[in-house]
C-alpha cells in the first residue's frame, strides 16, 4: 500500500538535512514496526520519497512524504504507531492512503508557501514598497552558484502582513516544480533582507490534483 504522510519539522530538526531526514524516517518506520517496502538489488533502499527538500534552518508545518508498505494497515493504526517512534520535533499531521498508480510525489509538486518572520524588523511601509517593486517587475535576474536565472516567474505570491503592534512579516508562495524551484532566501535577498535575520517556515506544499 502507498501512504502519504504530512508532518511538521521544527525546533532542532530544522538543522537536519534531506538525507538525514530520509534515514530518520526509515528508522522511525522500523521502530514503529511498519512493513516498509525495499527496492531490489544489492543495496536495497526503503521506498520513502519526500516531496520537496526543505532547506536547512527552515521549519515546516507541512512536509509531505509517500511511503510504500508491504502490507495493508489501517490508517489510524499507522498514526498511532508512528506517534511514539518519532523525535520530539517531528509530528505527524495526517496519514492517508493514496492510489498506488499515482505518479511520483516529486513530479506532482507545484509550489510551496512560506511565512517569513524577521528578527531585525524593517519598517512596514518600507517593506511594502520593496515587495510591490518586486511584484511589479517583469523579470528579476539573479545569480546563484555561478548561474544566472530569472527569479520573478518563480514568485507566485508575495505579500506583507502587518500586525497591530506595527511589526510585519512576509507571506510568499514560490514555484516548487522539478527544475523550477523558487528559494525564499533568494526572494529575501532581492528584498535586501539578510537571510540570517529571517525565520522561515514552510506552511504548505501544493500539488497537482
Amino acid at each position: 500500500m502507498r501512504i502519504r504522510i504530512t508532518f511538521t519539522k521544527q525546533g532542532a530538526l530544522r538543522y537536519i538535512g534531506h538525507l538525514d531526514l530520509h534515514r530518520l524516517w526509515e528508522r522511525a518506520m522500523r521502530r514503529a514496526e511498519l512493513p516498509l517496502s525495499y527496492s531490489q538489488g544489492f543495496h536495497p533502499q526503503p521506498k520513502i520519497s519526500l516531496a520537496a527538500a526543505l532547506p536547512l534552518g527552515f521549519s515546516s508545518r507541512a512536509e509531505v512524504m509517500d511511503v510504500r508498505l508491504n502490507e495493508e494497515i489501517a490508517v489510524e493504526d499507522l498514526s498511532a504507531r508512528l506517534k511514539d517512534s518519532l523525535p520530539p520535533d517531528i509530528k505527524v499531521v495526517q496519514v492517508r492512503t493514496v492510489d498506488e498508480k499515482l505518479p511520483a510525489l516529486q513530479t506532482q509538486t507545484l509550489s510551496a508557501a512560506y511565512d517569513v518572520h524577521l528578527t531585525e524588523p524593517v519598517a512596514g511601509s518600507e517593506l511594502k514598497r520593496r515587495v510591490e517593486g518586486l511584484m511589479m517587475s517583469e523579470s528579476l535576474i539573479r545569480e546563484r552558484r555561478g548561474k544566472s536565472y530569472d527569479l520573478r516567474p518563480l514568485v507566485e505570491m508575495l505579500s506583507v502582513v502587518g500586525m497591530a503592534d506595527g511589526s510585519s512579516w512576509l507571506k510568499m508562495t514560490l514555484a516548487a516544480r522539478e527544475g523550477a524551484t523558487g528559494r525564499p532566501e533568494e526572494v529575501l535577498g532581492a528584498l535586501g533582507i539578510e537571510a540570517d535575520t529571517a525565520r522561515v517556515e514552510r506552511t504548505r506544499l501544493i500539488f497537482k490534483e
Binding site: G11, A12, G57, P87
Partner: protein
C-alpha cells in the same frame, strides 16, 4: 548566566554557518528531558570529542541512564564543538551548553568527563574554557560545578590532576550514585545557607567538604589531597595523602554483577561514526596480552547471560531502529556461550535487516562459523588481530598464534567467500627488531599468496599496523617506547615490502600521534603544566590531523624545563615508584613485574580462566566474589574469610 532562550537565539545566528549543525541542537529520540526545577542535582556528562564520535559511547550512556532514573537528579550531555563552531561560539560569546536544555554547562552541579584516551586531554581543558568554568581545580569556588572524570586514562590520573576535582577509577555504575548523593547534600546545605544565616552545622558543608566526602568513597581519587615528592633523577619518590580521609592507595571500583545493559540508546538525527546498538556481552579479559591496557585494567571477567544479551539487543533495536548491532567485549571468542549466543541472535533477528558485528574473534575456524551464522555481508571483510608475526615477538607480548593457524584460518575465510581480510599488527613492542617487522610483511604476503591459491586473484588484504605505546598498570609499564627513528625505519620497511602488491593495503599511525599519547599516558603531575601550556597555545583535537600541533607540545615541554624523552624513551628502573603508584586496578604490581620478567624470557602465560595466577583481583574483591558465586565471574570461587586473604597478599610491591 544566559537562559536557554538566549542561547537558542544566539545559536540561530550561527548554526547555518557551520558544518553539520545537527551536532549542536539535540532533539534526538530517547534523549531524556527532565524538568530542570524538579530535581536537586544536575550532572552534565561530556565526551570531549565531536558529537559524531561521542554520541555512541556506551559508558556515558550507562551513567546518563543511572542518573536520570533518580527522582532527585538529572543528567544531560555535551560534546566538543568542532573548530568551525568553536570559532563562532567564541565570536558570539556563546558558552558551551548541554544539548537537552541548552543551559550553559556552568549552571550544572557536576561535570563528568569520560577520558578513554589521552589525546582528549586538551579538549577537556578547551571545553571547560568554552563553558566559562575555571580550568584549574584550585581556581574553582562554591559557584562552580564539581568536575570529575573517569575512563581508562584515570588509571594514571596524574597528568590531569590540576584540572579535575575527582577521578573515578574503575567502573562508574554504582559510585555515580554515591557521588550524586554527596552533591545533593552540598546543594541542600547551600540552600540552607541562603535561608538560615549561620549557626547551622550543615551550612558549613562547602566545596572542599564535598571533595573530602568524595575522597572517602572507594574508587574515587581526589588529587588535591595528595602530595608528590620527587627524587633527584626526576622520578617520583612518593605520592602520599595529606588528609586522613584520603586512602594511601585508591583501589578501582567494580560492580559484582553487570547491571542490565542500556536499551534506550539516543538516536542521532545526523549520520555519525557508529550508528548502532552496542550490547556489552562481557567485561574484562583473561588472555593477558602484555601490551593491552584494557585487558589488564578491566578484570575480572564477568559475563552477561545469553538471555539477557539477546533480550537487551532486541529491545534496543526496537527502541532505536538502528540497522547495526555490536556485541561488545574485549574478546568475543572467550565468551563462554558464544555459540549459543550467536544461534540465539541469528534466530531472534531472522529476516530483519540487521548487521551484527562481533569484534575480537580468535584466529580459528570456529570464528568463521560464528560469522557465517550471523549471515553477514561478506563485503564487510573479516578482521583478525595477530598483533605480531615472529615467534619471538609473540612470546614477548603473550599473544601466541602460530603462522600455520593464521594461514589455515585466512585460507578458509577467503575460500568461504570473503574477499577482504583485515589483519591488525602492532610495531614498536619491546626489543622488536627489523627482522620481527619483516616477519609481518612476510606473513601478509603469505596470507595473500595462499589466499590466491584457494580463491583466485580477487582476494585482498588490509594490514593495519599501529604503534605500541606502553601504558600504566600493564606488564609493559617499565619499558621504553620505540624511538621515532626506529618507527620510521620499520614503517619504511613495511611500505617497501607491501606497496608492490596492489591488493595489499597498508595503514599505519603517524609517529607524532604516538608520541603525544606516550608522554601523556605515563606522565606525572608535572605534565599538567605542559598540557595547560600546549592547550593555551592552541593544541586541541590531538587525535585529529586538523587539530594536532606537535611543535606546540615540544615548545610547552621546553617552557617547563621538561624533557619529553624522560617520559617516552626511558626504561624504568625495576624499583621505580610510578606516578600512578597510589592508584591500583587491583592487579598487583609484583604480578605485573613478574609478567614483565617472563616476557623478557619469552615465557607465555596462558589464559587465566584455565589457571588462576593470583593477579590480585581475588584478594581485593574477595567479598564481592564470595557474595556472587557461580559462573558469572571467571575467577575461581572464594569461600574463605576475606580478612585473612587480604593480610596474606599485600596489594602492591613486595
Amino acid at each position: 548566566m544566559f537562559t536557554p532562550e538566549q542561547i537558542e537565539a544566539k545559536l540561530e545566528r550561527i548554526l547555518l554557518k557551520v558544518e553539520r549543525p545537527g551536532r549542536y541542537v539535540g532533539g534526538e529520540l530517547n534523549a531524556t528531558i527532565k524538568d530542570w526545577d524538579s530535581v536537586t542535582a544536575r550532572a552534565a556528562f561530556i565526551f570531549p570529542d565531536i558529537y559524531d564520535i561521542g554520541i555512541s559511547n556506551v559508558g556515558l550512556k550507562v551513567l546518563y541512564d543511572q542518573v536520570n532514573q533518580r527522582e532527585d537528579a538529572l543528567a544531560q550531555r555535551a560534546y566538543a564543538p568542532w573548530l568551525d563552531m568553536e570559532t563562532l561560539m567564541r565570536q558570539h560569546g556563546i558558552p558551551l551548553y548541554a544539548l537537552e536544555s541548552k543551559r550553559p554547562l556552568a549552571c550544572f552541579d557536576l561535570i563528568g568527563f569520560t577520558l578513554p584516551y589521552e589525546t582528549l586531554y586538551t579538549n577537556a581543558l578547551n571545553i571547560l574554557d568554552l563553558a566559562g568554568i575555571p580550568i584549574r581545580s584550585a581556581d574553582r569556588d562554591e559557584s562552580h560545578p564539581i568536575v570529575i572524570a573517569g575512563g581508562h586514562s584515570a588509571t594514571n590520573p596524574e597528568p590531569m590532576h590540576a584540572f579535575i576535582d575527582a577521578f573515578v577509577v574503575g567502573e562508574g555504575e554504582e559510585v555515580i550514585h554515591e557521588i550524586i548523593d554527596v552533591i545533593i547534600k552540598w546543594k541542600a546545605c547551600a540552600e540552607q545557607r541562603r535561608s538560615v544565616e549561620s549557626g547551622n552545622p550543615l551550612s558549613t558543608f562547602h566545596r572542599e567538604d564535598v571533595l573530602r566526602e568524595f575522597a572517602k568513597l572507594p574508587g574515587v581519587y581526589v588529587p588535591r589531597f595528595y602530595q608528590t615528592t620527587y627524587m633527584e633523577d626526576g622520578t617520583v619518590a612518593a605520592t602520599e595523602p595529606v588528609i586522613p580521609e584520603a586512602p594511601r592507595l585508591v583501589k578501582k571500583r567494580i560492580v559484582a554483577k553487570l547491571p542490565p545493559p542500556p536499551i534506550k540508546f539516543i538516536v542521532p538525527n545526523i549520520d555519525v561514526v557508529h550508528n548502532r546498538v552496542s550490547v556489552e556481552i562481557m567485561r574484562g579479559c583473561t588472555r593477558g596480552c602484555r601490551f593491552c591496557q584494557a585487558g589488564m585494567i578491566t578484570r575480572p571477567v564477568r559475563e552477561r547471560s545469553v538471555q539477557e544479551v539477546v533480550d537487551a539487543a532486541d529491545a534496543a533495536v526496537r527502541s532505536t531502529g538502528f540497522e547495526e548491532l555490536a556485541l561488545m567485549s574485549l574478546s568475543s571468542s572467550d565468551y563462554t556461550y558464544i555459540k549459543d549466543l550467536v544461534d540465539a541472535i541469528s534466530k531472534r533477528f531472522e529476516g530483519r535487516k540487521l548487521t551484527v558485528s562481533l569484534p575480537s574473534l580468535r584466529i580459528e575456524s570456529v570464528s568463521i562459523e560464528l560469522m557465517e551464522k550471523l549471515k553477514q555481508h561478506r563485503s564487510g571483510g573479516f578482521t583478525l588481530a595477530p598483533e605480531a608475526a615472529s615467534e619471538r615477538m609473540r612470546r614477548i607480548i603473550n599473544k601466541f598464534i602460530p603462522d600455520e593457524d593464521i594461514i589455515k584460518t585466512t585460507n578458509e575465510i577467503y575460500s568461504r567467500g570473503w574477499t577482504t581480510i583485515k589483519l591488525y599488527f602492532m610495531i614498536g613492542h619491546p626489543s622488536e627488531t627489523l627482522e620481527d617487522v619483516q616477519a609481518i610483511a612476510d606473513l601478509c604476503k603469505r596470507v595473500i599468496a595462499e589466499g590466491r591459491k584457494v580463491a583466485g586473484w580477487k582476494v585482498k588484504l588490509n594490514a593495519g599496523v599501529s604503534t605500541f605505546v606502553p601504558k600504566p598498570q600493564t606488564p609493559f609499564q617499565w619499558v621504553s617506547c620505540d624511538t621515532r627513528a626506529n618507527i620510521l625505519e620499520k614503517q619504511a620497511l613495511l611500505k617497501r615490502e607491501l606497496f608492490k602488491d596492489r591488493n595489499i593495503k597498508l595503514s599505519w599511525t603517524k609517529p607524532d600521534d604516538t608520541l603525544i599519547e606516550a608522554w601523556l599516558s605515563r606522565g606525572d603531575r608535572r605534565i599538567a603544566e605542559v598540557i595547560y601550556t600546549a592547550w593555551k597555545n592552541g593544541a586541541k583535537f590531538d587525535a585529529w590531523e586538523e587539530g594536532r600541533k606537535f611543535d606546540t607540545w615540544i615548545a610547552a615541554f621546553e617552557e617547563h624545563g621538561l624533557d619529553p624523552a624522560f617520559y617516552t624513551y626511558r626504561q624504568r628502573r625495576t624499583d621505580e615508584v610510578f606516578p600512578w603508584e597510589h592508584i591500583t586496578t587491583a592487579v598487583r604490581k609484583n604480578f605485573l613485574f613478574q609478567d614483565f620478567r617472563m616476557s623478557l624470557e619469552g615465557q607465555i602465560r596462558v589464559d587465566c580462566r584455565l589457571n588462576c595466577y593470583a593477579c590480585g583481583i581475588l584478594p581485593t574483591f574477595a567479598n564481592l566474589r564470595r557474595d556472587n558465586p557461580g559462573e558469572g565471574w571467571k575467577c575461581p570461587e572464594v569461600k574463605s574469610p576475606t580478612k585473612k586473604m587480604e593480610m596474606e597478599l599485600p596489594l602492591v610491591g613486595d
